[in-house]
């Protein structure tokens, strides 16, 4: 019973988290405590002034790849669930997806340039 507990996933996760937290707090104990000046607490930057509010993540670049990612992750999981019956059907499914990549990529190129 103890053996199953000590090698179970939640226990391993907790142990790993505890190790990270231990290192983190130990680092806090032994680290040098300097004085805090305004210049020290400023961000690393140079050139033009850029306030933090103006930093935005450009979602547009992500979008097309995120859609691709979604479609092909489904392929990966379809293949993962086809373990019981290897052979023609998974191969056929994967071939169709392969053809879709080959056909879709030039279309994507002509669409976004």
């Amino acid at each position: 019973m103890w053996r199953e507990l000590f090698t179970s996933l939640p226990f391993v996760l907790i142990i790993s988290l505890a190790t990270s937290l231990l290192l983190y707090f130990y680092g806090g104990r032994i680290s040098a405590k300097g004085t805090k000046t305004q210049g020290k607490l400023a961000q690393y930057a140079c050139g033009e002034e850029l306030p933090a509010e103006k930093l935005q993540v450009n979602v547009e670049r992500f979008f097309i790849y995120a859609v691709f990612f979604l479609v092909f992750d489904i392929l990966a999981f379809m293949l993962a669930t086809s373990l019981g019956s290897p052979g023609l059907m998974p191969a056929l499914y994967a071939t169709i997806t392969l053809l879709a990549v080959i056909l879709l990529l030039p279309m994507l190129k002509s669409r976004i340039g």
Binding site: M1, W2, R3, L5, F6, T7, S8, L9, F11, V12, I15, S16, L17, T19, S20, L21, L23, Y24, Y26, G27, G28, I30, S31, A32, K33, G34, L41, A42, Q43, Y44, A45, L50, A52, L55, V57, N58, R61, Y65, A66, F68, F69, F72, D73, L75, A76, L79, A80, L83, G84, P86, G87, L88, P90, A91, A94, T95, T97, L98, V101, L105
Partner: protein, 326 residues
């Protein structure tokens, strides 16, 4: 004796092949990587701390832990503090599902391959969050690149992992290793393309030189790690070292037969060390060989070549299995 078995399990989780062993081997592989990389560039690499500089990674870790931890006033404090702790937790947890001493991993269950893929995706997402919470132009750019890069390499990697899984008929890393051991056949022989794709994808996952775009120091200082210092940087560095062990251990388990070999006298741990060391040297060699790609080249190249090749590999494997079963 029930409690003695329990104690043994607890010790193996904490010491060998658990936490302490994993951290030691991660620091050792960092030394191997740095020495070999330096040799390829006609440098010495670390030589002063310990014999041949073998203790240099430990010294670096302690030095970073003891340095002042500066949090810029503009950062999003909760995420900024959580990211280093969590990013170290992920590869440590995943390494418990890799067989190291024998054909069984310490914490193995059916479907742990999927769980490892999930943990590796979380590492990329944490990198993005770390860059974003720093509210710094360099960090935000680096984090965005990390996320975009993850969208590129994740799919071919996951599809290539399915090759050995289909061969063994299981999604458990331990069972894949056992299948290879009992059949006396390494999965790389039937998945050569998949092996190459996984190596390339892991170079991107580890942010190593042809794909070190998220932390390209000539363009964006240190990428998403720019604002991290002191103990936070120490944890991130240790996490990257553990990721190297995870990458080489996972490739060993899935494609190279895991900790088993043709000579039965040599124990499993020795086979594990030999195979992972060879893989670490391959990673270092590739790191010294290439120059950095641009992010758009990396993502579009991955979708143009890696994804179709990985699917092609699966189609060939499935057809071969179907042909053999007739």
């Amino acid at each position: 004796m029930a409690w003695e078995v329990g104690l043994l399990a607890l010790l193996s989780t904490l010491i060998y092949p658990g936490i302490i062993f994993l951290v030691v081997i991660a620091l050792f592989y960092q030394w191997v990587d740095r020495r070999f990389y330096a040799k390829l560039q006609n440098r010495y690499g670390p030589i002063y701390t310990g014999p041949r500089g073998i203790l240099q990674p430990v010294a670096d870790l302690i030095k970073l832990l003891a340095k002042e931890d500066i949090e810029p006033s503009a950062v999003d404090k909760q995420i900024f503090r959580a990211v280093p702790v969590l990013i170290l937790t992920m590869p440590l947890t995943a390494l418990f599902m890799i067989p190291i001493t024998g054909t069984w991993a310490l914490a193995s269950f059916e479907g742990d391959l999927i769980f490892i893929i999930f943990l590796m995706t979380l590492i990329a997402i944490l990198a993005f969050l770390g860059g974003w919470s720093s509210t710094n132009i360099f960090s935000t750019l680096g984090g965005m690149r990390a996320a975009l890069q993850a969208l590129g390499y994740e799919v071919p990697m996951a599809v290539s992992f399915m090759g050995p899984a289909i061969l063994a008929g299981s999604l458990s890393v331990s069972k894949i290793v056992q299948w290879q051991a009992s059949h006396g056949l390494w999965a790389i022989l039937l998945n050569p393309l998949g092996f190459g794709i996984v190596i390339v994808a892991f170079l991107a996952e580890l942010e190593r030189i042809p794909f070190d775009i998220p932390e390209a120091e000539t363009e964006i200082v240190a990428g998403w790690q720019t604002e991290f210092s002191g103990r936070k940087l120490a944890l991130i560095r240790l996490a990257l070292d553990l990721e190297l062990v995870l990458a080489s251990g996972l490739v060993t388990a899935l494609f190279l037969g895991g900790p088993t070999g043709p000579i039965p006298i040599i124990p499993g741990i020795a086979w594990f060390m030999i195979k992972t060391l060879v893989l670490v040297l391959i990673f270092s060699n590739l790191r010294a060989l290439f120059a950095r790609f641009r992010i758009d080249q990396m993502v579009s190249g991955s979708w143009k070549y890696l994804v179709p090749l990985s699917i092609l590999q699966i189609v060939m494997l499935e057809l071969l299995l179907g042909w053999l079963s007739f």
